[in-house]
Point group: C2
Chain length 168, copies 2
DNA sequence: TGATAATCGTTATGAGATATATCAAATAGA
DNA sequence: TCTATTTGATATATCTCATAACGATTATCA
């Protein structure tokens, strides 16, 4: 997930796997293309890659963006609550917050009611950055996805992913 | 992706993220649920998790399974060709093959025509294991997915994933 | 032919994400 | 009160993914 190396990989031997190219290697994929996990992971990597590319001006990773999104909708929560909601383990959440806080996008404040916990809040800069980030996601990232899939399939895909993540 | 720890995580604090549970934390997800990359990664982790659970009797990871599948359809290829097709870098492919070869599921043979390269072939045990693995995937893993999504959506999902992996 | 470059499998190594154990401070519960 | 739990943090281990470089072999071509 190296953000800055996107352009230096261009002439690497075989950065993009050839698995979905039919003609190049003349290799038979066989049942591999019916293996959902396989294509699911491939697709996920591509989507994250595109996200980073689209978000390059703001230097936000998907995880960082999701933290900002969640804090905007849920101000005043502590680290444990936000981390759990995002499926991030608390020890790993610390450095993620360090990075965002050092960029003045959010603040950690000791809670007056429970002085163990840190109340998390977006700063003004954090809110402004989030607005810009949302625009980048909508106009570049989602737009490209919709362009490839079509609006109907794009919406259906969102529903299916949520269903798997929820019920599977 | 720890295979053997599936059962020891049962009483961990918050292994399963609460992001898709609506009632538990009372946290507003907001636009997070519309972020494809977010749900895509969640879904991918769930699918891999289920794959490992279903494949536990044979102790095969998704990557190992895909190697066996590909070798079955393309015998006599060398390491570079298989690795490239799967999007695995050749240095990382070495230990993957070591594991499968030490289990006598495949063989590395010096090619007579080009003695730099190794010709890869499934062993009899490898073919037999692959047959059993395919059955496990079909009857457990895919069956569960189809149960959750329905056959039509499951098929549509495969198509969309392949499309993203190919065109995105 | 002989010198140079490229390829194959491999090793070593580093970065990044992810997991566990443990700690001090603070709080909750008996 | 005394004990147990929770919170954020640190240290650390593991796993995945990526690059550089090596010996052996083959290809290129002057």
């Amino acid at each position: 997930m190296t953000v800055s190396k996107t352009s230096s990989q261009d002439q690497a031997k075989q950065v993009t796997p050839v698995g979905f190219d039919e003609e190049s290697g003349a290799l038979q994929l066989g049942e591999l293309s019916e293996l959902l996990g396989y294509s699911l992971k491939r697709a996920q990597l591509k989507v994250f890659e595109d996200f980073l590319r689209c978000m390059a001006p703001l230097q936000l990773t998907p995880a960082q963006f999701s933290v900002l999104l969640l804090l905007d909708k849920n101000p005043g929560r502590n680290q444990t609550e936000i981390a759990n909601t995002l499926g991030i383990l608390r020890p790993n959440f610390v450095s993620l917050l360090d990075a965002l806080e050092s960029r003045d996008l959010l603040t950690r404040m000791r809670s007056p009611s429970d002085r163990r916990s840190h109340v998390l809040m977006l700063t003004d800069k954090g809110r402004a950055t989030l607005i810009r980030a949302k625009k980048l996601v909508a106009t570049r990232h989602e737009a490209r996805l919709i362009e490839v899939l079509g609006p109907a399939e794009h919406k259906a895909l969102l529903g299916m992913m949520a269903k798997i993540a929820r019920e599977f």
